[in-house]
Symmetry: C2
Subunit: 357 residues, 2 copies
């Protein structure tokens, strides 16, 4: 889609609209500020699949009582650098923000902090949480389970998540390195798009409902299939690691019991589990020296010889960083459908979106 044809909105304006919407849905002001910032920043960084396009479903779930409007995040156990928490079906975004704050505090005291949370919910873009550690020049990490997307290697039941992991590393002159990836080769959204366009998918993206490789995007996901893990058995193993480090460790819901945002769920606990880690470079090289060494490392990668036909070597997080700078200046482009949905949502809540009444 050509972004020039889209409507553009300033980051602060988009964030403010989200904040108002959350407050109208019963979210306390401080928490509405947190989740609104995370949602609008997803779009600011070009990750529009996890941004304000989801605001209507988030609000609907709050209104239906499927998510707790006021965050309740309680400590089950605390032991030096390690904290074990329960989120009682609170909004994943707020839970992630608060849990990461605790991991950072622990790292300030112990050099490392680890926080695991059960009974949380969908928290959007994983990468935004480890990035919170960057303000202190710390290294941030998060891992989460998620709704079922993949089958076990050699299996056919869609019972494991593509469970994302994310790291953020500070640098000095270069932008931070931010890794944010799931364990499947492509997202389900990509298959849905191919199905809509009537395109085949390459072998290696998905399996059909019998667990066989497929080139049919419908069979590979909507028809009951499953996404292929990166590196075959390797991505399968990583997805299991991420489930063990979250749901198994905390006694929370396993992937197979987690319903997607778009399914009805009267339990009030979507149940996603997350683990956060923060590491202070002062325990090693020292913060300043580490950042300078990151610069030299980044430079050595970026200035190595390009592949034939390749324009540039990028570090993880670099495209999102550039998008952020660009959209801060030019405004965030929004797809016409998203604008329509947000205007309609605004009307139902009695707030105006982009001047609409």
């Amino acid at each position: 889609m050509e972004k020039m044809d889209m409507e553009r909105i300033a980051f602060e304006e988009l964030k403010n609209f989200c904040k108002q919407a959350y407050q109208r849905a019963g979210v306390p002001q401080e928490e509405a500020e947190i989740v609104a910032d995370l949602l609008a920043r997803s779009d600011l960084r070009g990750v529009e699949t996890h941004g304000v396009t989801r605001l209507p479903i988030y609000i609907e779930r709050l209104q239906k009582g499927y998510v707790r409007a006021k965050c309740q995040l309680t400590v089950i156990k605390e032991r030096g650098p390690v904290t074990f928490m329960e989120a009682h079906g609170s909004m994943g975004h707020v839970v992630g923000h608060r849990a990461m704050e605790i991991a950072i505090q622990r790292a300030e005291v112990y050099g490392i902090g680890w926080v695991s949370v059960k009974d949380s919910g969908h928290f959007g873009v994983a990468g935004l949480f480890p990035m919170m550690a960057l303000k202190r020049d710390f290294i941030g990490y998060v891992v989460s389970n998620s709704a079922p997307m993949m089958a076990p290697w050699g299996g056919r039941d869609r019972i494991i998540g593509n469970n994302p992991l994310s790291y953020a590393f500070p640098a000095d002159q270069y932008p931070p390195v931010v890794v944010d990836l799931s364990c499947s080769v492509v997202s389900s959204g990509k298959l849905i798009l191919c199905r809509k366009k009537g395109e085949k998918i390459p072998l290696g993206w998905a399996f059909d409902k019998n667990g066989l490789p497929t080139q049919d995007p419908f069979e590979g996901y909507e028809g009951g299939g499953s996404l292929a893990p990166i590196g075959g058995h390797k991505g399968y193993a990583l997805a299991l690691v991420h489930e063990i480090l979250t749901a198994v460790l905390t006694g929370g819901k396993w992937t197979r019991d987690i319903k997607s945002l778009y399914e009805e769920d009267r339990t009030g606990i979507q149940g996603t589990c997350h683990s956060f880690m923060v590491l202070d470079p002062d325990g090693f090289l020292g913060r300043e020296e580490f950042k300078k060494r990151m610069d030299r490392y980044i430079q050595s990668i970026k200035e190595s010889r390009k592949a034939q036909d390749s324009k540039e070597i990028l570090m993880p997080g670099e495209p999102e960083y550039r998008t952020e700078l660009k959209f801060l200046k030019e405004g965030i482009p929004l797809a016409p459908n998203t604008v329509k949905e947000l205007i309609s949502l605004g009307k139902s809540l009695g707030i105006s979106f982009m001047g609409s009444k």
Copy 2:
């Protein structure tokens, strides 16, 4: 190769031979015991590429002074659960064992332990180190950088490692879950084997020296190419994470400066860097409850429906576990070439291998 035709040797006998060889090469008894156990256990678990087939080169490097015979592992910084160490070119196997012991001790005190080491060397099978945590029902983790194998995504220079990561998780009735994987789709050994057999490789395994996808196994590795990362840019990002968590964090050698075991290296410091983490489930569900929950999780995966034509769903580490039980009973099969090399090595050191003189 048909294993029935191979010579078989008992684990203890193989280990004892390795131990004697290391001692003859100047390694103190206690350290010879550690590295001999790790080498022989690699073969016991069927990971023959990283087992005793490498004993001759390890001994040769000791004799040439390329590796420090007596382990010198010193603390640079210590801060509660976090330890930063320098290995002064000591043998990676011994360094890994000692560093993991420290991480376990730290986890006993703090619930989590993290140890990063610089200036170590090749440490063989990554998975054996996190497995040390299993004796305490802890979770173990290791990550390492390694010799150059891959190019940056969009690049052509072979300057990043396929930097392995490994996790070990205890279970109750089931064998532990042991994940041990590198960030490339296949190993360089697989390309060398295809080249020897005159076989093409599938697109997606490697790039040629210009950074273009290749089906020629020689061009993909020995001819100056590079291995493809799992999931494309995702595996590239993971490989960078592992380098940052080891070499960049510690100020140690980057992958591009690490020579392989088979290259001459008079520096006396191969320079591999590792980081180890240990997590105590008592900070969360509790050790016993965690192991029982691991069992239920493993069962839920293994008993899910198999893909058409699939015989069984395996957990990571299960094949190696079965091999270990089998070879403990039947003896470890050794390839004729390996037997020949070990006999020859034994002769040069004045020790007997499998009854040879």
